[in-house]
Amino acid sequence: MHSIAEGLAKKQRKISVAEFFERNKQILGFDTSTRALITSVKEAVDNALDACEEAGILPDILVELKSIDDDEYLIIVEDNGPGIVRKQIPHVFARLLYGSRFHSLKQSRGQQGIGISAAVLYSQLTTGKPTVVTSKIGDGFPAHRCTLLIDTKKNRPEILHDEMTHWEKSSGTRIELAMRGSYVRNRKQSVYGYLRSTAIVNPHAHITFIEPNGNKIVFERVTDKLPPQPREIKPHPYGIELGTFIKMAKESKARKLTSFLSSEFSSVSLQKAKEIIKIAGLDPSISPNKISLEDAKRIVDAFKKVKLMSPPTDCLSPIGEILIKRGLRKEMDALSPEFISTDKRNPSVYSGIPFMVETGIVYGGNLPADERVEILRFANRVPLLYQEGDCVITRGIKNMDWRRYGLQQRGGKGIPFGPAIILVHISSVNIPFTSESKEAIANVEEIEKEVKLSLQQCARKMKGHLSKKDRKVKAKNKFTLISKILPEIAKKSSEMLGKPTPPIDDVITKIMNIIWIDDDVQYEDGKIKSTISITNYKNKPQSFELYAALPDERELGEIKPEAQKVEEEYIMWKIEKIKPAEKIELSFQLMGMEKGDFEENILYVRGIDPVNVIGAEKWEGD
């Protein structure tokens, strides 16, 4: 007689890796044949980008899909990264849950280490064919070529072939795997869509994509600067879970509890460590390896009772406003967008974990005006393609009133409609995904708030552009009126009556009755020159302050005439008594820019009724 528990245990043992995989296809991202292809490419490319960046190499990645059969494809992903030493190859590619990043608190693409080996397993389960990995770690080293399978019973790699071979590349890794799949294009959820999105947020990468029909697409690199290498940080007490805490304590080399807390956690000084231990009512000199579950609980509780500094945030590696704009401009070129606005928030913290939000909005051009806006979600430079509805980014977008920024939205809630694409990138040392497939970010209040704040800023810039455009059209109408229509009326009516043509200057001033502000942005040799002209079409002299907004991450050149104030965000000139019909010019230069980095000025006025001004908005304060 076996007990029930024994029976269950037997059954449990029988669940192989393959079965586990089969049951969890959805959370691993292999639930449909279309998605399987995308997920596999995604895992391989994410690894390639991470490897290149860690080694300080500008990524040059090839992705090729070959059709083997009606529903079978060969995926090839090749990089110029540092390569993988021979011994590690089978473990990296053919063993589930094997990765160097599993416990680390550092901004990176992969977080769980289930990715690429899951693709290898899927390949093997659907075609029975092995995966071929070629890797070379540098000039003067041979390349190794391994043919691998996963032993699904033991979750161990099985090496079928292992040979040394010649490879032109100085270093790099190439993976070839066959799988059942189906290839689609022309939508966001496709290999092409994934790579395009990847190119936007990885402007330092050069990606070549060869489609099954042989069509070759190149995503060019827009910057030669690698993103700064993110730093690894220690966990912050506010976000620690009991289990992790116990594990850390058991593995700690510190001799005393005080030094354990102060050396292995962020923002904990020796002073604070003592305070925590005192609140927990423990002996500061005991070894962390020896604490009981009860002690651990008391410490974790005590963490919440002390006031600690936020964790360091210089561990994050954001993309930056200008690079987001360049990435968007390059990939959206075919849409000839009318305006691109971007925003970057300062780092923020949820549960002791630093994160940061960056956003961009592409507006107008050939984008459809009556459809839902497209949302591009990113986490640590990885596009999120599925489960849009479950993601905190989508939630943030839905909970904003977009109507005030010129998009349509029923009842001021939900995904807005209009000719726009909304991009949101979240970087963090630990992205709180809703599941293993890493497609949606969990509903964290702090993150939603930051997403909304950033998008509001971005949308304000877009709105500024739109209302400026709108007012310019109106103003242009007035110019047509005074320069064409009015003289015609004067001429025709005098002709009919046989009288001399009357002068119309006074009537023109009466009709215009505004301050007209126009601006022009010129690019030349890495310099952008912005010229602002002001004409007084009112019948009295006018005085006011003019503010010109400055872009993020810029270097100011010459400002003419001298400005009354130059701040991080703006330049301010005092305009003193500009006379009727007088025109004055202001200008400033931005250095180290590329064409398209700064395309139009956002101008504000203060000290004058904005109704009387065309070309600038009301100044809302710093």
Partner: protein, 366 residues
């Protein structure tokens, strides 16, 4: 007053407008023209003429806006064109006015609606008729059959007497665009009633059944929303010969508007309602009550029909018990019928039963 006198008077009034614009510019004023608002909310009942006319609300066409400036430029061009046309003793259609503006540069009309509207604006501003400016509509007035003699001045200047039964074919006498006394005189008639009929099909049915002779009626085909000359002609028959007018249309909201323009005046032409409207004209049918009483074949009201009926409930011209009851009844039924639906009971039913019954009900002994 001859036709030429009337033309001269119109030109004189128009030149005053051009002068007003010129003087504004000369005196450093922004040129503008003030015109009564031409909307449903700005029509009031004129007790003296018993028609609906424009009220006190005005709209200003000012050169301060681009649209206003364009309108003023088009106005001076149009005045110039009409003046030259009259000098050369020519006339033009409203459509020709639109096309001729092609050569006006910035003064070109963007659509014929614009030019038609400007012609009406000029009528309002000058208090002269479009016909006096020698502007004609595209289509002539409708057809007339009945015991009536008219005397028309032909384009050769001869007088011609026409008997509207004996001297015309089955399609009747065709009403010209200008029906003023200088062009058309209404001579003898023994008719007891003028019946204005909306559709050509019903008009032909009444003619074929000899309704004009048997019942001594002058039949006028309205051709949908009636042309100005048709309405003017009906009004003159009513006033000069003292013949009552009844209007026979389909039973739907659009037909009630046709009746309203005959009896009360149209919103678009409220400035000349006293020339065009026949206040004593009565609506014969098809009424929503008829649809019910005669059990006529029906169609469902469309969304547009319902909106039109509701709009009529807020139209001052329909503010009386008869219309309010009928419109509400129709909204309740959700149905409409055409006048030709009476054929349900045979081709003679309309002339032998329906019309005699309805006329008797309305107090006419014919």
């Amino acid at each position: 007053m001859t036709v030429a006198d009337r033309n001269r008077a119109a030109v004189e009034e128009m030149m005053k407008i051009a002068e007003e614009i010129y003087n504004d510019l000369k005196n450093s004023r922004i040129p503008e023209l003030v015109i009564p608002s031409r909307t449903k909310s700005n029509i009031i009942f004129d007790e003296r003429h018993r028609v609906w006319k424009y009220g006190k609300n005005t709209s200003t066409r000012s050169a301060v806006s681009l649209a206003g400036a364009y309108m003023l430029l088009r106005t001076v061009y149009t005045i110039d064109f009409i003046k030259k046309m009259i000098d050369q003793k020519k006339s033009s259609t409203l459509r020709e006015l639109y096309y001729i503006s092609e050569g006006w540069g910035e003064g070109k009309f963007s659509s014929q609606d614009d030019s038609d509207r400007l012609a009406e604006d000029l009528e309002i501003l000058t208090k002269k008729l479009r016909e006096d400016m020698r502007l004609r509509p595209e289509e002539d007035g409708a057809r007339v059959i009945g015991d009536l003699v008219v005397e028309e001045i032909t384009r050769k200047g001869d007088k011609r007497r026409i008997h509207c039964q004996d001297d015309v074919g089955d399609s009747g006498y065709s009403i010209p665009y200008n029906v003023e006394k200088e062009k058309v005189k209404i001579k003898e008639t023994n008719a007891k009633i003028v019946m204005a009929v909306e559709t050509g099909g019903m008009f032909d049915r009444l003619v074929e059944n000899g309704f004009d002779e048997k019942r001594n009626a002058i039949l006028v085909h309205l051709k949908g929303q009636p042309a100005r000359s048709t309405r003017r002609f009906i009004k003159r028959l009513n006033e000069e010969k003292n013949i009552p007018v009844v209007v026979f249309t389909d039973g739907d909201p659009w037909s009630y508007r046709i009746f309203a323009s005959v009896a009360y005046g149209a919103i678009k032409t409220a400035h000349i309602s006293e020339y065009l409207a026949t206040p004593s004209a009565e609506f014969l049918g098809v009424t929503p009550s008829d649809i019910h009483n005669y059990e006529l074949p029906t169609d469902d009201l469309t969304k547009e029909d319902i909106a039109a009926l509701k709009s009529e409930l807020s139209d001052p011209r329909f503010k009386d018990d008869f219309w309010e009851n009928e419109i509400k009844l129709q909204l309740k039924m959700g149905k409409k019928s055409e006048q030709q639906a009476l054929a349900k009971y045979g081709l003679d039913y309309v002339t032998d039963v329906y019309l005699p019954e309805k006329l008797a009900e309305m107090g006419y002994e014919i």
